[in-house]
Symmetry: C2
Subunit: 182 residues, 2 copies
Amino acid sequence: MEAAARVVHEQGAGRTTIADIARAANVPVGNVYYYFKTKDELVGAAISEQARGFRELAAELDRLDDPRERLLRLVDGWLGQKERAARYGCPTGTLAAELDKRDEGGLDVEAGRVIRLLLDWVEAQFDAMGRPDAADLAVTLVGAYQGMSVLANALRDPEIMTREVRRLTAWLKELEPSPGSA
Amino acid sequence: MEAAARVVHEQGAGRTTIADIARAANVPVGNVYYYFKTKDELVGAAISEQARGFRELAAELDRLDDPRERLLRLVDGWLGQKERAARYGCPTGTLAAELDKRDEGGLDVEAGRVIRLLLDWVEAQFDAMGRPDAADLAVTLVGAYQGMSVLANALRDPEIMTREVRRLTAWLKELEPSPGSA
DNA sequence: GTCTATATGCCGATAGAC
DNA sequence: GTCTATCGGCATATAGAC
């Protein structure tokens, strides 16, 4: 499943063959089909792997007391993936975008759920900060992440991530509990 | 070329077959190959079509005197595509993201150029407004557009576009010529 | 220039030996 | 449970009639 998530991120779900994943996992092709009946199931496993990864990160951040600090750490984490983001885009965003272009299977809904997971967690932090417009702020923050990933990827420039993360960090630090001067 | 751009936007470049485009354009398959030697050339034509569309829009907006007004109209235009964005994402962003996952052909670079086109035009407007940080502001604005498109698409919710466009509109109206209180 | 028929190659999926 | 060989389908691309 790790190999599937990695290769699908790098090549996209459509262009990734079972043979690619099998090779990355050091097993022969037929073996893959023993555990996953179809390719769609394998892509679904890659999505689950993304969800698992985020839940792990969220659990770690939740150990911090201050919700604002949690968001700052989240944003800082994006910076750590700038090279991969500039090369392959956001794993969740690019996969969701690709799967949304085909109706079959309902895999698109599953990919959307991972983004929903992130969105809900971010909203909970803004809510804990006392912001009544937490949902909108969450869309803005996560949207900024998706946007900078698309641009960094399209222009092959990791520094776009650096600049945008810096801006978001300043924005988060200045955010007041009441939505007055937003 | 129009049919190619439309179908590629809806289905993605990878899943779109020559037959799909031929059907959408009401011509038989073999005919397509008379004008485009390979599928990559056809995808390239779809990219050119996107660039042409944007240049047309930019020329129209350039007739306005106030650069801030130009940006406001641009953002308002995004709202007009919210249904399509929620269903298929931003045409340029999704295509660039898909093509960036394969090295061959250099089509990814061409797709990046279309985004660069938009980015440069937006930067020119901020520059005309007297902002020394025009380049950063352009990345933020275009990034916000790409981000809201990804989210609206992944969650299948056009209203995300509505809310984010409203926020960007307010932001643009409050932006001062000098970067003091940004 | 327009269109049909077909060759070629690749990938998902399976059969079946071990 | 592991692995190899192969089938069947589909999409790009071409050959060639009109």
